[in-house]
Amino acid sequence: APPRQAADAQAREAAYPELLGPARFALEMYNRGRAAGRRAALGAVRGRVRRAGHGSLFSLKATLEEPPCNDPTVCQLPVSKKTLLCSFEVLDELGKHMLLRRDCGPVDTKVTDDRNETLSSVLPLLNKDPLPQDFSVKMASVFKEFVTTYNRTYETKEEAEWRMSVFSNNMVRAQKIQALDRGTAQYGITKFSDLTEEEFRTIYLNPLLRENRGKKMRLAKSVSDH
């Protein structure tokens, strides 16, 4: 292909104004469901963009400023203001945004994607260059199948869009877990695939177990001791 086209197929540094739209959308998704005083603010943004289907795929690196938390009903211990380093993948297709990936961590411990080549190599949906045509169409049809299979109903169009971006993000998370598993397990779409990690933990898991302050039980004799 002539150099220009090949160049387009590769990611290129995106100008700041170009990044603002996708970055603001990613921030909106990040803050979703949070009370006004609890929302993170956007700090620095840089990123790359490449052509994807009928639109563009933005790979953003952004810092988010989390507000301090002194409300014990929200955070068990007071938390001072903290800065997060986030990686977002935002697909901008025909003016519609979709958050495909969100990976945030404290600035000091965040492993940048560049060093996580092994991971990015297993995310075929997002790493074919150029992205498969109509990526979001594909994702939409997979999500539709999920909704049918698990009989999901969402109250509003916004909720359905939000759940689809969560679903899409979870597809990527499942692929990462798959890549790092040393057994024969298969990970992918389950009935929990439209829940964020926080929702899943809050609803279905039981962190009390790690405190394990329960009554001390006597130790059973080993069977061979009998």
Partner: protein, 215 residues
């Protein structure tokens, strides 16, 4: 040494997979599953027991916000036993306690903590019945089938957040596994079951093993 494989499901000691719904009550399902097995081994009858009784009447634990098996065993002894699922059916949220000692169908006399040695756990399971354990649920949100064996740092034994029931063990294509009964319904995992690598302390499976005792 324990038998090379064991499965209490094929011996009638395990009730059907249940569904805790949108409630963090895994601790209650893990304990009732263990007591069901202990009662079966002692009395020869398999009864499906009530988790709702533990949610409503175990005042030490926190119903849908979580609990500890060790507290639940104590609550069962204090209350005077467990009613059946039919008599005290699962609602998936906290209600006023309506336990009736007259309706209790099983009792326990004690509870024990088991070895953290997986070889000894397998031997104990094969002899004494299904075991209540607690694990780190890393990756289970997206688990579909096969033997899970996450990297240790990703599935730290220090971040335990789910209680389940060991019902058997064996090898698949040479990979040792624990057969684990979960409480997320049969439309999750392998018809409600989770298979976890055995012998490497995967996800802390060996750290909180316990059982009720029925004399």
């Amino acid at each position: 040494a324990p038998p090379p494989e064991w499965d209490w499901r094929s011996k009638g000691a395990v009730t059907k997979v249940k569904d805790q719904g949108m409630c963090g009550s895994c601790w209650a399902f893990s304990v009732t599953g263990n007591v069901e097995g202990q009662w079966f081994l002692k009395e020869g009858t398999l009864l499906s027991l009530s988790e709702q009784e533990l949610l409503d009447c175990d005042k030490v634990d926190k119903a849908c916000l979580g609990g500890l098996p060790s507290n639940a065993y104590t609550a069962i002894m204090t209350l005077g036993g467990l009613e059946t699922e039919d008599d005290y059916s699962y609602q998936g949220h906290l209600q006023a306690c309506s336990f009736s000692a007259k309706k209790a169908r099983v009792y326990i006399n004690d509870s024990v903590e088991l070895s953290q040695n997986e070889q000894k756990l397998a031997a104990w399971l094969a002899k004494k019945g299904p075991i209540s354990v607690a694990i780190n649920a890393f990756g289970m949100q997206f688990y579909r089938h096969g033997i899970s064996h996450p990297l240790r740092p990703l599935c730290s034994p220090w971040l335990i957040d789910h209680a389940v029931l060991l019902v058997g063990y064996g090898n698949r294509s040479g990979i040792p596994f624990w057969a684990i009964k979960n409480s997320w319904g049969t439309d999750w995992g392998e018809e409600g079951y989770y298979y976890l690598h055995r012998g490497s302390g995967a996800c802390g499976v060996n750290t909180m093993a316990s059982s009720a005792v029925v004399n």
